[in-house]
């Protein structure tokens, strides 16, 4: 680990971290408001979590324990490489156990294990503006936020119902934060939206390419938008995890062969492993499914 010596702690220089922390403080002070920040080039492509990595770098301390997940999994390329990145550049302890982590960087999921006070959840955000696909002008969306002029978001939900008979948005499902700001919860499945509401942990959102940071302080009200006659409903599954049997959690569909075989397993690998006996591991787990 001699590499650590050639990098400043957590890769970014102190001035940059300070700039990001300032943006974070402002974001925490105005829950759901998108704070512009001077996003840096990171040694990874846009879309791989450059925003999340910068936020993590800015909040990480030497005694923190970091967990990184990608679609709920600790063992996919994105998660492994970001975890390694901080092992090398910050030398912090890392873990895959949600309850052991103090900082969790995530792409598109909130862990199944309930978060607690003192933990920080950092989201990677590709497009922070929930109104973007309806209103391409940034000047206009900013004005809409300023004036709390959010009718347009309901037009999107209206279109969903008109086309599909129900609100068909299943991820990046828009939420209203603390009764004020409209927020894109990043492309997390809407299954996770209720977990954001009154969450004891601090939730931070970083969008590297779009240069925006926003935040949900602990115990913030987060309400998913809906219609009176078409209320918000989190995704429900008609089965449990094929490996650990857990129910009421978010499942991934895994194709197991080329003859149409498939199985549904926990998307949260840590949660699943903790319930499996013998433990499920990345290498063996899927192959050893009893038929």
């Amino acid at each position: 680990m001699s590499d650590a010596a050639v990098y400043n702690f957590a890769y970014l220089d102190e001035q940059t971290k300070r700039m990001i922390r300032r943006a974070l403080l402002k974001a925490v002070a105005i829950p759901g408001y998108q704070v512009p920040f001077a996003s840096r080039e990171m040694p990874m492509p846009y879309g791989w979590g450059t925003g999340g990595v910068q936020v993590t770098a800015a909040v990480l301390g030497a005694d923190d324990t970091l967990k990184v997940i990608d679609q709920g999994a600790d063992d996919t390329t994105n998660a492994v490489s970001i975890r390694k990145f901080f092992e090398r550049t910050a030398g912090v302890a890392t873990t895959t156990h949600t309850s052991d982590a103090t900082v969790i960087q995530t792409r598109h999921r909130i862990p199944e294990t309930p978060l607690r006070e003192g933990q920080i959840l950092v989201y990677q955000v590709p497009i922070p503006e929930p109104l973007r696909f309806l209103e391409p002008r940034e000047t206009e969306t900013r004005r809409q936020h300023a004036l709390e002029d959010y009718g347009l978001m309901h037009v999107k939900l209206y279109e969903d119902i008109a086309r599909h008979g129900h609100i068909a948005t299943t991820y990046a499902y828009p939420v209203k934060v603390d009764g004020r700001y409209l927020m894109d919860p990043s492309p997390t499945p809407k299954f996770d939206n209720p977990k954001m509401d009154m969450c004891p942990a601090l939730q931070l959102f970083g969008a590297g390419r779009e240069k925006r940071i926003y935040a949900l302080p602990p115990y913030t009200r987060v309400v998913s938008l809906d219609f009176e006659d078409h209320p918000f409903e989190p995704t429900k599954f008609d089965r449990g995890c094929a490996l650990c049997g857990a129910e009421g959690i978010y499942l991934d569909e895994v194709v197991t062969d080329d003859r149409g075989g498939r199985m549904f397993v926990c998307s949260d690998t840590d949660f699943c492993e903790s319930r499996c006996t013998p433990p499920r591991t990345a290498a063996q787990g899927l192959n050893e499914v009893p038929r």
Binding site: D149, G151, H154, V155, Y158, E159, A162, R163, F227
Partner: protein
């Protein structure tokens, strides 16, 4: 019509707009009463659209003022309204019909969504009721209910204009601004649209400011007419009076240049 207030709905005084050294519009004063249709005519570049922009607060004047009698009866100076108030006014008590429907409609959103947008913006949160209201207004503008989920880019030019009007009428505005609403439409489609607008004016006591270069449109729709040239109002009066007996040489020229079919 006895419920109408005698005071004018909108009073513009000394409206002036400079574009750098050029004059967009100079010293225009105008009253609009409830249920009254005022046509603004003149050739291209005469300041018609600038005047419409100033009246609807989409442009800031270099000088002058616009007062408007709000729904609660209170007269307010429009320039002193906050941006939020102005936006609210523009999509509840006012309407704006553009010549190019793409400016007034969301082409990627269904007809129902377009009509429902204003309702959702003012807080409607019941899908069934929004849809029922959208159907009602599509009926009113003679668009088949079966087209409610189609996008306006599948509509003809005339349908788009009628959809624009439905979108505006849904909040029962008292004043509607129209910028060449019949531009680019063929004559029979124009006639249908004009008929529709006339119906709304008489049914709802709607006031309208219509910018047009088409004197036939002005004659059919408007009660009063304002003739503009080089950014100034050169003649104003009752429509029939101005068109039948124009006083100014320029107006005489305008009237004389209509092709007699």
């Amino acid at each position: 019509m006895s419920a109408l207030d005698d005071r004018p709905l909108l009073v513009a005084e000394g409206l002036t707009k400079h574009y750098g050294q050029h004059i967009g519009c100079a010293d225009v004063s105008l009253d609009i009463h409830e249920g009254e249709v005022v046509a603004v005519v003149g050739e291209s570049g005469s300041g018609k659209s600038t005047l419409l922009g100033l009246l609807s607060t989409q442009l800031l004047p270099s000088a002058g003022s616009v007062r408007y009698r709000m729904r609660d009866g209170e007269e307010r100076e429009l320039l002193s309204l906050s941006e939020a108030e102005r936006r609210f006014l523009l999509r509840t008590d006012w309407g704006f019909v553009h010549q190019d429907a793409r400016l007034g409609l969301r082409m990627g959103v269904s007809a129902g969504g377009n009509v429902g947008e204003r309702l959702m913006a003012v807080g409607w949160r019941h899908y069934g009721r929004i849809r029922a209201e959208a159907e009602h207004w599509l009926d009113r503008v003679e668009i088949a209910r079966s087209r409610i989920d189609d996008r306006p880019d599948t509509f003809s030019g005339g349908m788009r204009q009628r959809l624009q009007i439905a979108k505006n009428m849904v909040t029962r505005p008292r004043l509607i601004f129209m910028d060449e609403p019949t531009g680019g439409l063929d004559v029979s489609v124009q006639a249908r649209l004009l008929d529709l607008i006339r119906g709304f004016v008489s049914d709802y006591g709607l006031a309208a400011v219509i910018v047009t270069h088409d004197l036939a449109v002005a004659r059919l729709l408007s009660h009063r007419i304002v003739v503009m040239r080089h950014g100034r109002v050169i003649e104003t009066g009752l429509t029939d009076q101005v068109l039948d007996d124009p006083r100014e040489p320029y107006t005489q020229l305008l009237v004389a240049s209509i092709l007699q079919a």
